[in-house]
Symmetry: C2
Subunit: 329 residues, 2 copies
């Protein structure tokens, strides 16, 4: 009978991995952690009044500022600048053309003086013109080597450890986890599976159009300098419907760009969870909200209370922010 017991224990351990240990070791005890654990317990309790079948356990996560950092500017902007430098020999006209000229001079501030429009123009000029496979390779090479200007760490090391635990915890409880980001969909897909455990088909983001072409018998999808979709603000519920086709029951964001996603998620019937990550930890990361041009959070702070949304204080609720740096080799 002992072997039978061993087999049964193994079977049970596989079936209920969430029982194994503390699933959120980087979260301090507090309202945020309690709200998350209680929500998951309620929707996974068979026969309970709030039970949600696994197929409907859809959780959506913003990326910039929610799963990884976004200061001093969106990490994709650093990629855009590096692409401008790499492509400059093929574009001699950029030397005299803003915002490209400022980037080439190393003057980021002037390059970004044109705001989102300037960033979009640069993204378009550097993200189009390749095939989807070439672009995937370019992103993969960059993300494997580029370093954050302040911490000197790889960008994929600037993901929030508590959020990685949360993603894994939700999946262990039958949730399907999606990214719903204003960032470029093809900028995130090449590394989202390795870093977050989120496969390409569960990444939703902004995109440019592509065109199917057969050249010399070889088919390719060519990336065009034309906006296809902006996955931000009112666009987030639209992107969710396009890709997922059902309303999430849990949503996680950090800025007012996520407001509509949280609003759409929590307007559904039954149990709902909306969480805003508040960047209030100047010591371990960066403190910003109402006045920030990147990741501005004002309406979310004002309305979270009355709407029953959970505010996560990075300072209070997170035992650690980033994972430990890997030991030097």
């Amino acid at each position: 009978m002992r072997r039978l017991t061993v087999v049964l224990v193994m079977v049970l351990a596989c079936a209920w991995p969430a029982l194994a240990a503390d699933p959120l070791p980087s979260w301090n005890d507090g309202n945020a952690r309690t709200a998350i654990l209680s929500f998951v317990a309620r929707v996974t309790t068979h026969g309970g009044p709030a039970f949600v079948p696994p197929a409907e356990r859809i959780a959506v996560f913003d990326n910039d500022g929610t799963l990884w950092g976004e200061q001093p500017m969106y990490f994709q902007a650093f990629f855009v600048f590096d692409r401008i430098k790499a492509l400059a020999p093929q574009h001699p006209e950029w030397k005299d053309k803003e915002p490209f000229a400022s980037v080439l001079k190393g003057d980021v501030k002037s390059a970004l003086a044109g705001g989102e429009h300037a960033l979009l123009e640069m993204a378009m000029a550097t993200h189009a013109g390749t095939t989807t496979e070439e672009f995937e390779r370019i992103v993969g090479d960059w993300i494997a080597t580029a370093k954050h200007p302040k911490t000197g760490r790889l960008y994929t090391e600037m993901v929030y450890q508590p959020m990685l635990e949360l993603l894994a915890y939700l999946r262990a409880n039958g949730f399907k986890t999606f990214i719903v980001s204003g960032g470029g969909i093809e900028f995130m897909r090449p590394w989202a599976e390795r870093v977050y455990g989120i496969p390409p088909e569960q990444v939703i983001g902004s995109s440019i159009k592509t065109k199917y072409e057969v050249r010399n018998g070889k088919p390719a999808l060519v990336r065009l300098p034309e906006i296809n979709f902006i996955d931000d603000k009112e666009g987030k519920p639209v992107g969710i419907q396009q890709h997922i086709g059902r309303r999430p029951i849990a949503a996680f964001g950090n800025s007012d760009g996520d407001f509509q996603m949280l609003e759409w998620t929590t307007a559904g019937a039954g149990p709902r969870l909306a969480v805003i990550v508040h960047h209030d930890d100047a010591a371990r990361e960066t403190a910003y909200d109402r006045e920030s041009s990147i990741g501005r959070l004002a309406r979310g702070l004002d309305e979270a209370g009355p709407r029953g949304w959970v505010i996560v204080s990075m300072k209070q609720d997170w035992r650690r922010v980033f994972s430990e740096p890997p030991a030097k080799q």
Copy 2:
């Protein structure tokens, strides 16, 4: 020890369901069946030269003519006609306006004289103007009751039994199955999970634009009379990239509208499977290919051989076409 044996057998049976019995009982022995079984065996053999990790086992299926029928016209067209009749009281102008007037007179042939353009105009006029949730309810009500004009069966009973077995067989072998159809994405999603086992987030199709609105504090996605995406021909690889973000290893279609999807799938490295369902069974279904205005198949027939694509003869390869009608109650 006997109980241990029982437990182990149960564990093994759950882990390898494909071993249990004939996974494709409605398929006759022949080249098509052999090609499918051999492909699946190769990509799932651990350590073998053609092994594909489960995450990359993406299989895409056209819907009309591949998973369910499409004669005497696309089933969604019957839905469009029924919507025109239902909405006619709110649109008195339709009585004198083609193609709506012909539909209201019951003259389908004249209504469709304008070809795809006329169908698109009618789809737009009847599919927009509701919220996504209202539209889902309308489709759900229709699909639960509307009957095919020739067979008198529900449309969801006109799915191909051999293809249902194939979907289940692939999933049992670690494949993720997607629909990639020229039909409306929101027309398929309300019933695709129940009928095919394919969840909404794995349905790709043509779509109209939606707009996020908050009316009296209640958010909704409103459907607009404006094309968002046509998921046909060159659009299929584009839709696959947008939604899935990686190239499938297996693709199933029936018409030249699927050609590019099969071409894109088979142009990837490693083992690939492309299958065309050939409607050559006039006795049990409908025989059509090169000359048909719906589901035209010419280039696919010509090039399948040299490209190594598999042609399924419905007449030869399928033991049965549809599932048995349910017993009368």
